[in-house]
Amino acid sequence: MAKMTVNGQEVTVSAPPMTRLIDVLREQMLLTGTKEGCGEGECGSCTVLLDGEPVNSCLVLVGQAIDRQVTTVEGLGNAERLSPLQACFISEGGAQCGICTPGMLVSAHALLERKPHPTDDEIREAIAGNLCRCTGYQRIVNAIRKAASV
């Protein structure tokens, strides 16, 4: 059976290999934190980590994710134990409508894993593949900068 690891748990995948990863995550695993905003790798709402790299899960076939590690927003923290990024997105106003937030958090998480103390320019570069229409990005940048300092 084809398997992959999602948020640290090994799971069995029964979908055809050409199914989009986002559909397997949302419809089979019911991990609906990952959102679809465009279906063509442009908005970044569906960003997940694939072996630690941020990717658009609408542009990954599940066959390409077999035997690999997938991390979704649900794997970054939970309501009882928010990650510093999640907490700072709330306190700094980084989340408004919230639809871009999961993907934005995943990209920000990947950045801080590599660069614990990024500059504002590096933050903007890291989230340039995540479109937000609510915030003007300033408060998202502030939230990531603050999370890096805690």
């Binding site: 979704t72 907490a87 408004q96 990005y137």
Partner: protein, 728 residues
């Protein structure tokens, strides 16, 4: 007190951990998927709809206009728009046939098996064509609506003027690009009633639409809002159409039906910002004082009336900008074209006319050889001034305070002088300013007509439950209502919650539009909460809150339903378009600093300072978020967003080619909240949601004007368009 602080928003945790459920995250037992088959052409008559006999139609359901049990009308202002086109099509992408199927693959196959043939007619696609139509689309003259505002003696004003300065300014369509596409799930309850839930701004608009299309009463049409991923006006009226469609399919199939728009469909079919042309003729004194202002506004409403008359109204009322002028005449009209209906979009007509007046103020400064900010300050409304409609500004006028804050923070005068000197190299810098206002709340007698209501209930544990039909689309309505109710009642935040929006559970508070939610609905929320708390304390004056609440509840339910009553002094005449146009105005000054690359004419916005007087910032972090997000939408509209039309269809129907700003395109924002309290608003609060959309484009244009020495009068300022202006 929590008002004025920024406590963590109550919907924050669910949004950051991914547990917030948006419409596409929901499913129902036995749910089918629905799709819409649309007109490929902008104008014509439906000759035939053919269902391919080779396809097995028994496994799916289809719906056409003939299946509509009630009126084939989308209930709004006029009755011109059908739920499904019947006979005639008036714009590309107009819905004609609906299909539902148990799964998406079968649905796609069914859609492919439907063939619609339309006899093509010559479409009207531009304002120019619409003004002289071969055959009107709407009414006798193809005009949806006209307004005139008159003040003083225009001829005398021009006669007294040192100079007469004229200019014409245009703006283009804008797509909302909320990141969550539109979507609705509908089902038919056991008793035959219809329930819809989905991404929407105005639950009672949707309910009215269902009542009309299905001939049911309010008990048989229930509307639930799901967590909504952005609206910006785009989910004000359009969800009514999707709700009717999903409900028609649910009724016919006997299954719950979910319709989720793909991004292309969403860009193509849903509403946009109205394009507009503004022509100004002003009489000015040599020192820059305005003595006469004449303006003609024409907006493109698209194929159906929808909200156009109201958008035009707000545009008209903002057309003379934040400037005093004793002699004014503003004439406006909205025309019909064979393009998808234009509708509500943050600012609602004001960003269009404020673009006009702000560019015209820059023209006046240029032609008089004065500084653009000096000209503005000479004319900027102050306390006690009278507006074009005759409204006396009695309080809460933070116009000058905003100018001072924004210019100081940006070091405007020093930079203006520096960038005014000759610059070297292939990059040129400039700094520009806009000063503007935005009427908060419904226009004129609108609030009196609406009669918005809120109910606050006392619940066990001393909790208060706020029941309102106002919706949170991300702007933070839920949190500010909780803050205001808690403070008004004198209880901790944790004891207040907001009832999820469901027409079965909340009263009609009026739509969540027009920057009215905090000021109007929030105001009655605070009043209701204060009254409930007063009742409790009256019953048990000596007990702590939780015990007092328990004692009060033991005697019976404690609940307050309050309806908004406008302040008595608000006088408005709809016939003469004069009087108090809005309960009050919010005020603002934006400063933009740009760098333009002469090799490519790409504009980099280096910094934006926005000082905005919103009366009182209930939640400063969320207020700043509104200002920054709205300003970036304005900058996007100015610099990169453009709907590309080809024969009445949209050529750039993807996020790949309808370009909104990324984090690398957005400037650092320096936001200054100015608080000149409004006595009619809760805690002094005025509107904040829309105003940020008004001033970003003209401030950026003014900065580009200084950098390049050219005067862009027409949006967008894409490098392609700037090149045309720059090369002459």
């Amino acid at each position: 007190m929590t008002v004025g602080q920024s406590p963590p928003r109550v919907d924050g945790v669910a949004k950051v951990v991914g547990s917030a459920r948006y419409v596409d995250d929901l499913t129902k037992p036995g749910m089918w998927h629905g799709a819409t088959v649309r007109s490929p052409l902008p104008a014509g008559r439906i000759r035939s709809i053919t269902f391919d006999p080779a396809f097995d139609w028994s496994k799916v359901v289809t719906v056409t206009a003939q299946d509509i049990p009630g009126d084939n009308v989308v209930q709004l202002i006029e009755d011109d728009q059908p739920v499904l086109a019947d006979g005639v099509v008036r714009h590309a992408y107009e819905p004609i046939v609906l299909v539902a199927a148990p799964d998406r693959e079968l649905l796609a196959a069914a859609v492919k098996a439907i063939d619609i043939v339309i006899d093509h007619e010559t479409p009207i696609l531009t304002i120019a064509e619409a003004l002289n139509p071969p055959k009107p689309i709407f009414g006798p003259d193809n005009v949806f609506k006209r307004y005139t505002i008159k003040r003083g003696d225009l001829a005398a004003g021009f006669a007294a003027a040192d100079r007469i300065i004229e200019g014409t300014y245009t703006v283009h369509h804008q797509e909302h690009v909320y990141i969550e596409p539109q979507g609705i799930i509908a089902w038919v309850d056991a008793d035959g009633g219809i329930t819809v839930e989905g991404s929407l701004q105005c639950p009672y608009y949707v309910q009215k639409a269902l009542k009309r299309a299905f001939h049911v009463d309010e008990h048989q049409a229930r509307v639930i809002q799901t967590v909504t991923g952005g609206g910006f006006g785009g989910k004000e009226d359009y969800p009514s159409i999707i709700a009717c469609h999903a409900a028609l399919l649910a009724k016919k199939s006997g299954h719950p039906v979910k319709i989720i728009y793909g991004r292309q469909e969403d860009i193509e079919a849903t509403t946009k910002r109205h394009p507009a042309t503004m022509t100004y003729r002003t009489g000015v004194m040599n020192d820059g004082t305005l003595v006469a202002l004449e303006c003609d506004v024409t907006m493109d409403g698209g194929a159906y009336a929808t909200l156009t008359s109201v958008v035009l109204s707000r545009g008209t009322l903002h057309a003379s900008g934040a400037y005093r002028c004793p002699n004014v005449e503003i004439r406006s009209r909205a025309v019909a074209t064979n393009t998808p209906p234009n509708g509500a979009f943050r600012g609602f007509g004001a960003p269009q006319t404020i673009w006009g007046i702000e560019r015209h103020m820059d023209r006046i400064a240029r032609e008089l050889g004065l500084d653009p900010l000096a000209v503005r300050q000479k004319n900027l409304y102050q306390l006690g001034d009278t507006t074009a409609t005759g409204q006396i500004l009695k309080e809460s006028v933070g116009s000058q305070a905003c100018v001072e804050e924004a210019t100081t923070a940006s070091d405007y005068w020093a930079k203006r002088s520096l960038y005014g000197k000759p610059q070297q190299g292939r990059k040129r810098r400039g700094i520009g300013v806009s000063t503007f206002f935005h009427g908060a709340g419904f226009t004129g007698s609108g609030e009196a007509r609406l009669k918005g209501k809120v109910q606050v209930d006392l619940a066990p544990g001393g909790r208060l439950i706020v029941r309102s039909g106002s919706t949170d689309m991300g702007q933070g309505q839920e949190m500010v209502f909780i803050q205001m109710a808690a403070d008004a009642a004198g209880i901790p935040l944790e004891l207040v919650s907001v009832q999820p929006v469901d027409t079965g559970e909340v009263p009609d508070s009026g739509p969540t539009v027009a920057s009215r939610t905090t000021m109007i609905v929030g105001g009655i929320t605070a009043k209701a909460a204060a009254k409930v708390a007063a009742r409790v304390r009256e019953i048990a004056p000596d007990l702590p809150w939780d015990q007092a609440a328990a004692k009060a509840l033991a005697q019976g339910a404690v609940s307050e339903l309050i309806q908004y009553v406008p302040e008595g002094h608000n006088q408005w005449d709809d016939d003469t378009y004069s009087g108090d146009a809005y309960p009050c105005f919010s005020w603002a000054c934006d400063v933009a600093e740009v760098e333009v690359d002469l090799d490519t004419l790409e504009v980099t916005v280096l910094n934006v300072w926005a000082a905005q007087d919103i009366g009182k910032a209930i939640h400063p972090v969320m207020c700043a978020g509104q200002i920054e997000g709205g300003t970036l939408q304005a900058i996007g509209w100015a610099l990169c967003e453009d709907v590309v039309w080809k024969d009445g269809r949209i050529a750039n129907n993807r996020i790949t080619n309808y370009i909104i700003p990324t984090a690398l395109d957005a400037p650092p924002f320096h936001t200054i909240l100015v608080e000149e309290p409004f006595s009619g608003g809760p805690f002094g609060a005025k509107g904040v949601g829309e105003m940020p959309m008004d001033g970003g484009a003209p401030a950026v244009a003014a900065a580009i004007e200084q950098a390049l020495g050219v005067c862009p009068d027409s949006l967008p300022l894409t490098p392609e368009k700037l090149m045309e202006v720059y090369r002459g």
